[in-house]
């Protein structure tokens, strides 16, 4: 009997010996410290990075080995959270603004202010982006994440369809209404959106930024204002009216982004509303549709005398954990990944908009070029913060869902925002 247990034990030990370090073989060159870099996106969103990192690792003069991991799914933050929980987070990781706010407020992120100053980036990195890279209440103005790529909120349009039907590029509500009328008369949908994703809230953000500005969002987050404030209700009513007038097609209430883009690319709809990051997805679907050409509308004033032209998301944050064991290595990885060498390659091959203006000179994608030339300059301030990123993840989910139901004609703008406010109140009570 003892013999048997011994055999069992030996077997178990052998197994654990063989397999326990199954993962460490990825870090072949053990003489240099390994810096783990987590990207929440799929590799297709930064397809050139893998090769650049391999090249970096192959050079024996470089002080670290970068281990780049792409996740590319909604479960990424759960993963990351688990690593923090286990006390072993990666040295560098990407966070969306909403999640970033939570981490920054909890004091989990390394202060990058001095690092930016040393690299001379505190001058060249867009001021709006720098203001963006702190917790929502950022009295010191310190920077806790490197904001990667800017995306402007925009409306895409089908260039050839507009030409054929003789539609001018809209500039305000009146001309947008006219464009929608012509499209509808020709059996086309005007604007489609992916309302079962965040695009519904993006619609609201477009109007909110022009009408109300950012301060009220921060105030509401702080409890000094409410999400159902009359001005916000008025802004959402503008969106609601666009649905009622068929400018935004009600059918898109059921769509997610894939489906909305498919409608747009296959020529059933003249316009698609989202933000510039969606170009990658449009391009990949448009590859099977020869002759399809699109651009973004330079500027639409949804209200008279808008505060700013478009809201901008200054991108996802690249962060270092506050209690990082190898800060030097982490900063080295950041310097490489957000240095000019990688930037030039990424702008050229992938078409991303960097927050350092001079890095964008090689951008050739027509729609993104429009964004850089016409939208970025007029909106590069802290006032153009993007609503979708300025609320807690639960409030965002609630807004997405509520606006989706509003587009389906089930809720009024007032009800949607009352619910959002209630959700925020509940969330705070649960948190204490």
């Amino acid at each position: 009997m003892k013999k048997f247990l011994c055999v069992l034990c030996i077997l178990l030990c052998a197994l654990s010996g063989v397999f326990a370090n199954g993962s460490s073989e990825t870090s072949a060159d053990s003489s240099r410290p390994v810096v783990r870099v987590y990207c929440g996106w799929a590799e297709t969103q930064l397809p050139n990075w893998r090769a650049l990192v391999d090249e970096y690792n192959a050079n024996p003069d470089n002080p670290i080995t970068i281990q780049l991991e792409f996740f590319g799914s909604s479960g990424y933050f759960d993963r990351l959270n688990a690593e923090f929980l286990a006390g072993d987070p990666p040295e560098v990781f990407q966070l969306t603004k909403t999640v970033f706010n939570e981490y920054a407020a909890a004091g989990r992120l390394y202060d990058l202010t001095d690092y930016l100053a040393e690299r001379g980036l505190s001058e060249t990195l867009n001021k709006g982006a720098q203001a963006w890279a702190g917790p929502l209440v950022n009295e010191t103005g310190h920077v806790y994440g490197f904001p990667d790529f800017a995306n402007t909120s925009c409306i895409f349009y089908n260039v050839n369809m507009f030409k054929e039907l003789g539609i001018e590029e809209p500039t305000d509500m009146e001309s947008l209404r006219e464009a929608a009328r012509i499209l509808n008369e020709n059996g086309k949908k005007a604007i489609v959106t992916g309302a079962s994703d965040w695009c519904a809230t993006d619609l609201f953000a477009k109007v909110q930024a022009q009408m109300v500005g950012t301060d009220i969002l921060i105030d509401a987050y702080m409890g000094n204002a409410q999400y159902n404030d009359p001005v916000l209700v008025e802004a959402l009513t503008v969106v609601d009216n666009m649905v009622k007038e068929n400018i935004i097609d009600p059918s898109s209430a059921d769509y997610n982004d894939d489906e909305a883009i498919a409608e747009f690319v296959s020529g059933n709809a003249g316009m698609y509303t989202a933000h510039t990051a969606m170009t990658a997805m449009i391009d990949s679907l448009a590859a099977s549709m020869p002759g399809f050409e699109y651009n973004i509308i330079k500027n639409i004033d949804f209200v008279e005398d808008p505060l700013i032209s478009v809201p901008v998301t200054w991108g996802q944050m690249w962060c270092v954990p506050a209690d990082c064991d190898n800060v030097e290595g982490a900063l080295e990885a950041l310097t490489f990944l957000f240095g000019e060498y990688v930037a030039n390659d990424t702008v050229e091959k992938v078409g991303k908009i960097y927050n350092v203006e001079s890095w964008n000179k090689n951008l050739s994608h027509p729609a993104l070029r429009t964004a850089v030339d016409y939208q970025m300059p007029s909106s590069a301030t802290a006032d153009s913060f993007y609503l979708v990123d300025m609320v807690s993840s639960r409030v965002l989910e609630n807004l997405n869902r509520g606006i989706q139901q509003m587009i389906q004609g089930r809720l009024t703008p007032q009800q949607v925002l009352d619910n959002a406010q209630q959700t925020w109140v509940d969330e705070q009570a649960q948190r204490q």
Partner: protein, 275 residues
């Protein structure tokens, strides 16, 4: 006349059953051989030309070769562990009558009520403390533990079917307890082991939540996790390739199922029902 109607009804039932179970699968396999354009324009036609390229693309883009190896290793270790400790425990539970039998069984069965989503938070911490994060053995231990309730339950019912007389005779011959277990009991419950193997293979091979949260590096992902990340990442708009990936991932479960299917009902007969 009545018989004829009966026959027609049965035929109708079989047709509906086949369409409902096979329809979606046939459609998936068909779609996986189409071009993107075909899928959009003629979603339910037969592919004009078999696009084997989709499979090659899926294999390459989705990095499935790594995931296959990971899944095989993880499934192998966890089933080996799970079935060996469970059969020991099940034998103990069914062969030795003590006052702890009932409480122990209840304690183990309580685990059957737990969903993986409820326990991953603490599991992350435990694996980290034991230095097993991101290792094959770490995730296999979790699978083995999670499979214990079902395995012990089914196997102990199988052991109960063995006539006590056999053991008594062996005892008279001076047979040790371990020998009783290995040379008398185990060979008699082969079909029980096969049943447990089939069900637990399907569980471990297909498991998503635990794998998704506990595996850290992309080189360690198991197939379902790899498929999920690929479909929502690399292949997001590339439906035909995603279909091909889906088909590839399902093939091994089909093979195991066809080999072991005769134990499905048999296992249930001896296993779950006597409770």
């Amino acid at each position: 006349m009545k018989r004829l109607i009966g026959r027609i009804l049965i035929a109708l039932f079989l047709i509906i059953l086949s369409i409902l179970t096979l329809g979606p699968l046939v459609w998936t396999v068909m779609s996986s051989f189409k071009t993107s354009g075909e899928l959009m324009l003629q979603p339910y036609s037969i592919p004009a030309k078999l696009q084997w390229k989709n499979y090659a693309d899926a294999w390459r883009l989705g990095n499935f070769s790594t995931y296959f190896i990971n899944s095989i290793i993880v499934t192998f270790i966890s089933l080996l562990l799970m079935i060996s400790v469970s059969s020991l425990a099940a034998f103990g539970l069914s062969h030795y009558k003590t006052r702890f039998n009932h409480p122990t069984l209840l304690y183990i069965l309580f685990g059957q009520m737990i969903s993986a989503a409820m326990v991953i938070f603490p599991l992350v911490i435990i694996l980290q403390k034991m230095n097993l994060t991101d290792s094959y053995i770490g995730i296999s231990l979790v699978y083995a533990a999670g499979g214990i309730p079902f395995s012990v339950f089914v196997l102990s019912n199988f052991f109960k079917t063995i006539p006590q007389g056999l053991f008594e005779a062996a005892q008279l011959d001076g047979c040790s307890e371990i020998k009783k277990f290995i040379s008398i009991a185990l060979p008699l419950i082969k079909s029980g082991l096969a049943t447990v193997f089939l069900y637990q293979f399907l569980w471990v091979w297909n498991e998503f939540t635990i794998g998704f949260t506990l595996i850290r590096s992309s080189s360690m992902r198991t197939l379902p996790v790899g498929l999920y990340t690929a479909v929502f990442g690399v292949l997001q708009t590339n439906y035909v390739v995603a279909f091909a990936g889906t088909v590839m991932v399902s093939i091994p479960t089909f093979i195991i199922y066809l080999v072991f299917q005769k134990h499905l009902v048999k296992g249930m007969l001896a296993g779950s029902i006597k409770a």
